[in-house]
């Protein structure tokens, strides 16, 4: 059936060779012209599972206040220059930044009168003081307690600046507001930056650095926008005086640094791979027509990139990065046919001898990539589509087009290297020694494999340049804030709802882990129900009798220090407030700043954030609390990595098993023999064990991309096994060993160039693929024939 179809197609193409060539040429030309129009996506999100929790966390991180901020770290380079010079540079920079790419420039936070703002905020004391505080107040309204406080206020008045504090102390003689002040101070510094506010400027403790904060509408993952923004800022930084250097710190710089690195890697690997492919064919085959074999996968990948983009509407850089690997795999089929034709002539019979293993080889590889369609990761769907389309296109070109462009004559490759490679079937070394060496190698790799560790930290995929890392290290050394806290997120349809749930969560959390490790806006501004309850307690406590008792004590004991009669009238004026409890403070800059830091306005409501140390024990305890408040969730880098590895880990086990089953099934379908099918799996087993041993030996750890690469290895090396076992069984003179050798070489060129990649993902994939393919190739050529000889002697 297939032979008939193959003959029909061959005859048709033979008759219309020019037309078919022109059509294919046009398709390739159109694809090349369209390449620059394709929108590439460097967003890591596409490589994450479409799991609700993970997407929610990712969306939160993308939309939260962290992702729209950049910091410019200005530093004095000259010892002679003073902080005043630095401040002038900050002013110069902040006034020069005027662009729609920057929403707000914060270089100076002066203009805030903290003392008068605190005095204004004092009127909320009845709403903010917790029920347990009243026993402490009661203990203060005694003769000794009041005397002590008056003495304290008198002493404060003697201090430099003591008079500035007097209005505050007059309104709060008992120091009732102290805890609230402490909470305000604590949550103001919750992100851990060590900033000294000097004349309103954000200065480092050593006085040699200044910080300018920028808010931008450009989202962090928008590669084009991020590049525009960073270029704009770099242009502005060039105008700074020579004695000031400046670094931009923020996620946007990571985006463009990763994009630059991947682009550089793609160019470098493509150039190396192209040169290596060309040299290999021209040097070993000395036949210009061999270049067609190189052009087939190239054309197939270029056309497939266009089709994949058309289907998915965008294309991940990470998927494109696999292009050279796909080309390396897809070229194999052309090699098998080319070598067979060179060895046995371009007859229908020659093609028929290789057509089965070529098709089944392609099918096993396609099946491995095909299982990725079952993944929840959108990026894997792109990878699967691109790979399968490239491989199938390559297979079609190889089976139906290539033979028409090759010489009809039988013509063995004559190069010395080629000759040597054809002789590899006749081993000179004792077979037992080889088997023993293989077993020892495998045992060693299994032992080394015990040191294999799984790394689920997503930051390992950040290929940001060393310059950026150095700037960040320098920044964190000067300003702190290196360890980012985890976030407890409380959503709410209305702000009042969110405030109340946030308060309930806060109460629950501090009962479990205490106040010190949880920074919540609820400690400064609780929900309306809590504030109402607090105010009720206050009113009950400050009865007319209590008020008079305290007033009398103040009048009596303050005479010693000559306090004026109305010294503490401000306290009594606001003892019984009559404002609307539902209205939150207005016109207080400090409150607005805090609110901006903790409360996010979303499309469908609000989110209130609280911060805590990103440690397992807190994540476990707070996760349990979060479960009691529907809608709330935790976001932590550690937790995020765990969620991803958990989601992908279980999925990858399923996908790997599916890939192995499909490979075994297709192998059995080709060979129709269990023993032979097991032999095909020998290189697969060898590759997997070698990968497990080499990864820790190279100082790397197993990660999700390397697991995927291992699955691809299974598809590739099972092809080698299939060809060798097919050859051992049928003994067709189609140059199988030479073909496999060239196939492995070309694949290794594709994978080996990834070892030159600087991006950690591409490098990790390169190590896995190169190890797997090389060991799979060697074991196919050396071990399978030996095992075949030992295990199936009667068939020899």
């Amino acid at each position: 059936m297939f032979n008939k179809f193959h003959s029909f197609c061959n005859n048709f193409i033979s008759r219309h060779k020019l037309l078919v060539s022109a059509l294919i040429g046009l398709a390739i030309l159109f694809s090349i012209i369209n390449l620059p129009r394709i929108k590439y996506d460097s967003n890591i999100e596409i490589m994450l599972p479409a799991n609700q929790d993970i997407l929610r966390d990712m969306r939160f991180l993308r939309e939260s206040g962290f992702s729209d901020k950049l910091v410019i770290n200005l530093k004095l380079n000259d010892e002679k220059q003073t902080m005043q010079d630095l401040i002038l540079a900050v002013d110069q920079l902040t006034t020069s930044i005027k662009s729609p790419l920057v929403k707000q420039v914060i270089g100076n936070i002066s203009g805030t009168n903290m003392i008068s703002e605190m005095i204004s905020f004092l009127r909320y004391t009845p709403q903010l003081l917790r029920a347990e505080s009243f026993s402490k107040i009661a203990s203060q309204i005694t003769s000794s307690g009041v005397k002590e406080r008056l003495k304290f206020i008198y002493r404060q008045s003697l201090l430099p600046g003591g008079s500035f504090m007097m209005p505050f102390l007059r309104a709060d003689p008992l120091g009732l507001f102290t805890d609230i002040l402490r909470n305000i101070e604590k949550i103001s510094t919750s992100l851990g930056y060590d900033v000294v506010v000097n004349n309103g400027y954000l200065i480092s403790r050593d006085g040699r650095r200044a910080m300018v904060i920028l808010k931008t509408p450009v989202i962090m993952s928008d590669g084009f926008g991020a590049r525009k923004l960073i270029m704009y800022l770099r242009e502005k930084l060039k105008n700074l005086p020579g004695f000031v250097s400046a670094d931009i710190i923020g996620g946007h710089i990571h985006t463009i640094s990763n994009e630059d690195l991947i682009k550089r890697d793609l160019w470098l690997t493509s150039i190396i791979a192209s040169l290596a492919f060309l040299l290999l064919f021209l040097f070993f085959f000395r036949d210009l027509r061999a270049v067609i074999i190189f052009l087939i996968p190239l054309a197939a990948v270029i056309i497939s990139i266009n089709i994949t983009y058309f289907v998915f509407k965008n294309l991940s850089y990470f998927v494109i990065g696999m292009g050279t690997v796909i080309a390396g795999i897809a070229i194999d089929y052309g090699i098998y046919v080319y070598i067979a034709v060179r060895k046995a002539g371009s007859s229908q019979e020659t093609i028929r001898q290789v057509i089965r293993p070529v098709i089944f080889g392609a099918l096993t590889t396609v099946s491995v990539f095909g299982v990725f369609f079952f993944s929840k990761v959108k990026g894997y769907h792109q990878l699967a589509f691109l790979s399968i389309f490239s491989i199938m296109l390559c297979l079609l070109f190889t089976l139906f087009i290539l033979p028409h462009f090759l010489s009809k004559e039988r013509n063995n490759p004559r190069t010395p290297v080629a000759r040597k490679l054809t002789e590899t079937s006749s081993f000179k070394v004792d077979d037992r020694i080889l088997i023993f060496a293989w077993i020892v190698t495998m045992a060693t790799m299994i032992i080394l494999g015990t040191g294999l560790k799984f790394n689920n930290d997503i930051t390992q995929f950040d290929g940001v340049s060393k310059d950026v890392l150095l700037s960040e290290e320098e920044f964190h050394n000067a300003w702190g804030g290196k360890i980012m806290p985890a976030v407890f997120v409380v959503p709410g349809k209305t702000l009042a709802d969110a405030y109340q749930v946030n308060t309930d969560v806060y109460e629950a959390v501090i009962k479990n882990i205490g106040k010190d490790n949880f920074t919540s806006f609820a400690s400064v501004w609780p929900g309306v129900n809590t504030r109402k309850a607090n105010e009720l307690h206050w009113q009950e406590f400050w009865s007319k009798e209590k008020e008079n008792e305290f007033r009398k004590m103040l009048t009596d004991y303050s005479k010693v220090y000559n306090f004026s009669e109305d010294a503490f009238q401000p306290f009594f004026t606001q003892l019984h407030p009559a404002g609307d409890i539902e209205i939150e403070p207005k016109g207080l800059t400090f409150f607005d700043h805090l609110k901006e830091q903790f409360v996010l306005k979303k499309e469908n409501g609000f989110q209130i954030l609280s911060f805590f140390p990103d440690q397992d024990k807190y994540i476990t305890q707070l996760s349990a609390i979060s479960n009691n408040y529907p809608g709330t969730f935790l976001v932590s880098r550690k937790n995020f990595s765990n969620k991803i590895s958990h989601a992908l880990g279980s999925e990858l086990i399923f996908l790997s098993l599916l890939a192995v089953c499909l490979t075994v099934g297709l192998t059995f379908l080709l060979l129709k023999d269990i023993q032979l099918s097991i032999l095909v799996l020998a290189p697969v087993l060898t590759s997997v064990i070698m990968i497990a041993g080499i990864i820790p030996l190279a100082g790397l750890s197993l990660n999700i991309p390397s697991i995927i690469a291992s699955m691809v290895v299974v598809g590739i090396v099972s092809d080698y096994g299939m060809f060798v076992v097919y050859y051992c069984k049928h003994k067709f003179e189609t140059g199988v060993y030479l073909a496999i050798t060239f196939a492995a070489f070309t694949t290794l060129i594709g994978t080996g160039v990834l070892l030159f990649a600087r991006h950690p993902i591409l490098f990790s994939v390169g190590v896995t693929l190169t190890t797997g393919v090389l060991s799979g190739y060697l074991s196919s050529l050396i071990i399978i024939p030996l095992l075949y000889k030992f295990w199936i002697p009667e068939r020899n």
Partner: protein, 213 residues
């Protein structure tokens, strides 16, 4: 037409006199800065008189101030209570006899205190030219020099301080008196006596002990 010329002349005259006044202040501040730049250490007795609305009578305190440029500053009160304050960079340490407790905190976390200390350091530093960025400066008298500094709006002290008058010694090497008027109506007068310039300072001045004489 004549009126227009008169107005033009008057306007020109005003502009010239303003420019003259500005350059006058600059010259004077530069002169003071040059004279005071030679001063590296100061030891002086002080009397502080505070008129605060919260008290019926002025509060008077006495003690010593030690300054070692650029970073060390200490303030020792002997009367009416014993109290010591040391400042090194951003860190402040305090001790008082009654509580006998040492308290340490950062200036950046105490805005009121921070403004007060910044004020004191400014007047003692002698770097007056740079103050023009944060204060409107008026010459009250040239001999002896008396200057008035009024914080401009961007100055953190703007909301608290109405004005500061600084009285210099005849040799213009150091201060005789500082008067601070606050927006609340409170005021402080600091008077200095027995000033010793560039003399070695007893190391105990930088300790939180009450034995400094």
């Amino acid at each position: 037409m004549r009126d227009a010329i008169k107005i033009a002349i008057l306007f020109l005259g005003l502009t010239v006199s303003c420019a003259w006044a500005a350059s006058d202040v600059n010259t004077l501040l530069l002169r003071l800065e040059t004279k005071m730049s030679g001063v590296k250490s100061i030891e002086t007795d002080f009397t502080q008189e505070k008129m605060l609305s919260v008290f019926n009578q002025p509060i008077i305190s006495k003690g010593k101030i030690f300054i070692q440029k650029p970073h060390l500053f200490s303030w020792h009160v002997r009367l009416p209570v014993r109290y010591t304050m040391l400042i090194k960079g951003d860190i402040i340490k305090q001790w008082d006899e009654e509580s006998n407790h040492v308290q340490q905190f950062s200036l950046s976390r105490n805005p009121g205190f921070s403004i007060a200390i910044a004020q004191m350091k400014v007047w003692f530093s002698g770097a007056y030219v740079s103050l023009l960025k944060n204060y409107a400066v008026k010459i009250i008298s040239e001999n002896p020099v008396i200057l008035e500094f009024v914080p401009i709006q961007s100055n953190p002290a703007f909301n608290l301080v109405k004005g500061v008058k600084v009285f210099f010694e005849k040799d213009e090497r150091y201060l005789r008196e500082i008067r601070i008027e606050e927006k609340s109506g409170d005021s402080t007068i600091l008077t200095f006596s027995s000033v010793k310039l560039n003399m070695p300072i007893n190391p105990s001045a930088w300790e939180l002990k009450p034995d400094v004489q």
